[in-house]
């Protein structure tokens, strides 16, 4: 078996992973970074090393800021293994992955930095061609420079949606309409969090600027929209929603949905270590100590996969985790001194989170569909009504509903239905999500070709 060892194995080459790798190298650790993409950057800094000047201009300064981190990573001497699919992970730091055949690397410590994914938006018609995530559209922009060919309809809530709209405006794309689903009541709830958020003033003012630019650009915005549905038989044709007591229907061929992002916890959950339900962000997060370590294992988590925190905070978390690991490996003796300035930075970056979490908390009806026909599991085509039926049969949690109805058994392995199913069951049973629990995630962490696992291995001497 091809097997190597390192002081630190990092999974994921986004801001958290790259920053951790840099910090760990500075402390003299051997570092291997495994990443599914071929080039570093993660989703947020996707294609950062090869992006063209005109596209930089469209994507804006926050994106371009990633260049410095990527360059530092390239200089750091960390081993970068791109195009790697991690499929198994143990609590003592053994990582099995596929990269031109099956490979294994053992880390004295492993940092999980697998980032975030878009929160599912389970509404009628969300499986139709012509409907995709706003994050997906941004990937198209970063990776291929692709922009909508015709007028685009943007639906939902949250910074990424507005940022993409702003980027599209700069690229000259016509935005047909923004259907903003942020509940008006959220604004009231968020107000008390504003003073705390002011510590993160740069973030806050950036957000306001984006919204202002949209308004100035003459983009039609429907605020406080609810009960969104997409109509069409074989492709999206229209979007409908309730607005000020009436139902509005607008023709729409390309609909971009977004209601925030959730931690991608597939890796950390596969270890069987504890996760808790974050009632503010409506998602699961791994239980860690202040440095990101999971229980007493060899595993640390940093960045959005530990809880949504944004690119800058993620990088700082990565550095803090690397420092703590450095101390475990006796690479430093002044942990607290080194950590103090980073902690202050982190505090500043995180200051805006409670405000954002409150303001952009997605509507329950867009998280937990009341319409029985809405598809919850896109892979196995299981509806909300079917899940509710299994609860009536006595199922207490998602593993039982999965066994009864195949919900979560498809190739996405429950990534796109996990939080929805937990919330659906909790609502139906009238209990907390924490009590309902989550899917038991089993390897392989991504579907892998049997060919890749059965390939001949170099035998150990």
């Amino acid at each position: 078996m091809t097997s190597e060892t390192a002081d630190l194995v990092v999974i994921g080459a986004g801001p958290a992973g790259l920053a951790a790798a840099c910090e760990a190298r500075e402390l003299g650790m051997s570092v291997v970074v495994l990443d599914e993409q071929t080039a570093p950057g993660g989703q947020i800094y996707r294609n950062i090393e090869s992006v063209t000047d005109d596209r930089q201009d469209v994507l804006g300064p926050d994106y371009v800021a990633g260049q410095e981190l990527a360059a530092a990573f390239r200089r750091s001497g960390a081993e970068h293994c791109g195009g790697a699919t991690v499929w198994n992970l143990t609590t003592d730091g053994v990582v099995d992955y596929i990269a031109d055949g099956p490979k294994t690397v053992s880390g004295k410590y492993v940092l999980l930095a697998s980032g975030a994914m878009e929160r599912p938006f389970p509404i009628k018609g969300w499986t139709l061609p012509g409907v995709m995530g706003a994050g997906a559209a941004q990937v198209l922009l970063k990776g291929a420079g692709a922009v909508p060919a015709g007028p685009v309809t943007m639906v939902g809530s949250g910074p990424l949606l507005y940022l993409l709209a702003w980027q599209y405006m700069r690229a000259g794309v016509r935005i047909a309409v923004v259907v903003d689903t942020t509940p008006m009541t959220n604004y009231l709830r968020a107000v008390p969090k504003l003073p705390g958020a002011l510590a993160g003033w740069p973030d806050l003012s950036k957000g306001l600027k984006l919204l202002g630019a949209l308004r100035k650009g003459g983009v039609k915005v429907y605020r406080d929209a609810r009960e969104v549905a997409i109509e069409g038989r074989d492709a999206a044709q229209a979007v409908t929603f309730r607005h000020r007591g009436g139902r509005i229907e607008l023709p729409a061929r390309l609909v971009l949905l977004h209601q925030g992002v959730v931690p991608n916890v597939q890796l950390s959950m596969s270890t069987g270590l504890d996760h808790s339900w974050d009632a503010a962000q409506h998602c699961w997060t791994p239980v860690t100590d202040e440095w990101g370590r999971m229980a007493t294992s060899s595993l640390y988590v940093a960045g959005d996969s530990r809880g949504i925190s944004g690119a800058l905070a993620s990088a700082v978390q990565g550095r803090l985790a690397a420092l703590s690991i450095g101390q475990q490996l006796e690479k430093l003796s002044d942990l607290q001194t080194r950590a103090a300035p980073l902690r202050r930075q982190l505090k500043r970056y995180m200051a805006i989170r409670p405000f954002l979490d409150t303001l952009y908390c997605p509507r329950e009806i867009h998280r937990v569909p009341t319409d029985d026909d809405v598809m919850v599991c896109r892979c196995e085509e299981v509806t909300a009504g079917q899940i509710r039926g299994y609860v009536k049969l006595g199922c207490l949690g998602p593993n039982q509903t999965k066994a009864f109805g195949r919900c979560g058994m498809g190739p996405c392995q429950g990534r796109f239905c996990g939080v929805t199913v937990t919330e659906l069951i909790a609502k139906e049973r009238k209990v907390d999500c924490a009590e309902v629990g989550h899917y038991r995630i089993r390897p392989p962490i991504k579907p892998i070709l049997l060919r890749d696992l059965s390939a001949p291995k170099d035998e150990e001497p």
Binding site: G133, A146, A149, R378, P411
Partner: protein, 111 residues
């Protein structure tokens, strides 16, 4: 069969391109982009039909998570088009339902 493209990739003078086919139709796209991006800009509306109800599907997440963008690439079905970069001459077909294995005599020997 081609529909009005959902996305466009503004042409850049002097940048290199590759030619791929979808269901036999030639599409010229910039080099280095993903198959999914190429097809979305190449007028492909339906990437696959779903396994249970044969409903039309197309990419949703573009980051390897949702498995909606599965297509057959160079004879191998079930590939995530958002994770695979285009190469010149690549032959892509729509994925109809679940993947098929070739168990015919002779097929087995190439493993």
């Amino acid at each position: 069969m081609a529909t009005e493209p959902y996305f466009v990739i503004p042409a850049k003078p002097g940048s290199s391109t590759v030619t791929i086919t979808f269901e036999g139709r030639k599409i010229v796209v910039p080099a280095g982009i993903s198959v999914a991006a190429a097809l979305l800009a190449g007028g492909v509306g339906v990437f696959r039909t779903s396994i249970v109800s044969a409903a039309p599907r197309a990419p949703f997440c573009m980051m390897g998570v949702c498995f909606e963008c599965l297509v057959e690439i160079d004879g191998i079905s079930g590939r995530q088009s958002c994770m695979v970069p285009v190469t010149d001459g690549m032959a892509i077909r729509r994925q109809e339902g679940s993947s098929a294995l070739d168990v015919s005599e002779g097929a087995k020997d190439d493993v």
